[in-house]
Amino acid sequence: MSTRRNALVGLAWLAPTLAFVSFFVLWPMVHLVWLSFTSTSLLGGGEWVGLENYRTAFGDPKFWAAFKFTLLYTAVITPILMGLGFALALLVSPNTPLRRLTRSVVFLPVVIGLASSSLLWFWLFDQQVGLFNQLLVDLGAIDEPVVWFRKAETGLAAVIISVTWKVVGFGMILIMAGIQSISADLFEAARIDGASPALQVRRIVLPLAARSLVMATVISVIGSMLAFDQFYLMTGGGPRGKTFTSVYMIYQAGFVRFDLGYSAALSVILMVVIMSMTVIQLRLQRGRR
């Protein structure tokens, strides 16, 4: 009886948020799905077209190009973010003053807006007035300033450098939390057992911090699959539309071409993809346990 009352009390506490989410998130989502079955234009008008938008999307080479590029971006940046995040987490987990300072500094860019950091790096990468280019020249790494956004590869590299700088601290903190939650006894036992740092990382840290690593990966993958600002502000999708992401395409379809229906259909597809990816990642983690 007390459990039942508890459940109701809990539901009451949850109710405001559920109401808010249903009203301001779920309802617009339903509206979005409905829009995806219509030819609604941002300028007004439109009618029910059934699966037409989805058919168009799957037959649209631009859709596939954007989708593939988004996957490529995610596939390249995720290991970088997680690898570096993990390495940094190992570096800053012990509570010494220098390591704590490092931790704070690495986390610093996380609190900056993505748009601000993208603009900042857009300037740093500029081949004429950008200091990053100039620094590379002065350090002798390159002979003359690189026109970073001229090729898809270097443009992508530039975006990845800037995003890594911006968000690597987030993964680091999440993973560090996982590492710090491992009992110190275990590391001491391992030291006595003669495990080298590498073996400690492989046999103790990785398996025991796996949960936070997976959590960080899931959040990072969702973020990468939804990448927009960094490309909008830095590459403009160029060169030749080679750095166009899925959300960029959704933005253009809706806000530049006013084709809300198509834009909605693209969003629904992306949403389904991201949800499936998330579920798969969480399942894999659970399966490993």
Binding site: L43, G44, Q127, P239, R240, F258
Partner: protein, 416 residues
Amino acid sequence: MTRRRPRISGPLAACILAALTALPVHAEELTMWVRESAADPGKLMVELWNSGHENKITLTAIPDNQMVTKLATSAQGGDSPDLVSFDLIYMPDFMKAGLLTDLTEQLNADTNYATHVQAYKDIATYEDKIYGVGFTPDVSVLAWNKDLYKAAGLDPEKGPTTVAEIVDHARKIRALGGDTYGFWFSGACPGCNIFVTSPMMVAAGSKMLPRNGEDEALTGDGVKLVLEAYKTMWDEGMIPENAEVDTGANFVSAFASGKIGIAGTGGFLISLMKREHPDFNYGLTLLPGAEPGQVSAFVGGDVVAIPAGGKNEAAAREFVAWVLSDEAQLQGLAKNSILTTRTDLADNEFTKGNDKVLTTAKALSVGYVPWVFHFADMVNSDSSPWIIMVQTAIFDGDIDGAIEAARAEMLAIASK
């Protein structure tokens, strides 16, 4: 479209009337949006209006690439401003969508409208109805650096008159070496290129954008001629390397740096140079075609229109009429080194003897403006067929293939 006064009867009406009359009677406050890059001239005009009228206008500048989005969403949401000044190129889309107020009757009765620049009349007309007038005009021209011309042994008083001459002059200027280049264009900026590159194609006899799926698109030899000329200049290093990725950041500053021989630009350059580089020695001429005498220009700038459903339509209409008045044209535009949008006032006390302004006035009269739907999709978006064609042809080298692909995609867009 006129708004009907809602009928209110009975006690409710009494209440509302009482409430209304309780308020002090005062002039109306109009809201107006203007896109960021046209905010300066827009502000001059609005200030002039506000200084002499009871109904005051509050101006809000909206970032350029968000203007259309915002206008479209606000129309959907029913909270549009009373007046809006936006890139004229979006007129067809907005007129077709019924977002703007029909001004036909008013303008046809307005004698000032008769001498309005034809390009603005065209762009603001849809199915024989007129929805707006040119507000703060701009037009594309070709600029050349007289000092560099002199240094390269060219006649500093004579700019290029054909596309071939552009290449020829650029080559000679590049021969000066160092970081002096012959030509500049913003290679990743779709808007810049439709503004300064497409008029050369038009001058050389090409038809640019299709109005519907059956229309001509990128036909004629001009497209290929211009792309080939650009490609030659690019391949021979007459254009700085960073032109390829420039999304417009250096559209103006490249030429203003003094290291560029020739560049397409707009009438806005005159006031900008006067303000920031008063001693800069340059000339302006019309954008050329294949043969001497072939010239064109892209008529740009903003139109002013009244979003449908505005709350202060009558006052807004007054403003539209005022825009074409002698006061606005001379004191608001010409006095500030801006072109007038009435041909009968093009030559006025403020422009007398100013060759550069007169050149732009000429450009305005010979210029073209593409009347098409989906301009954003066809030209202005970051991956539009237009910019992909320009880039593929010039930087990758496949000119015919690039034109072919762009044409197909433009027709597909136009047939939507």
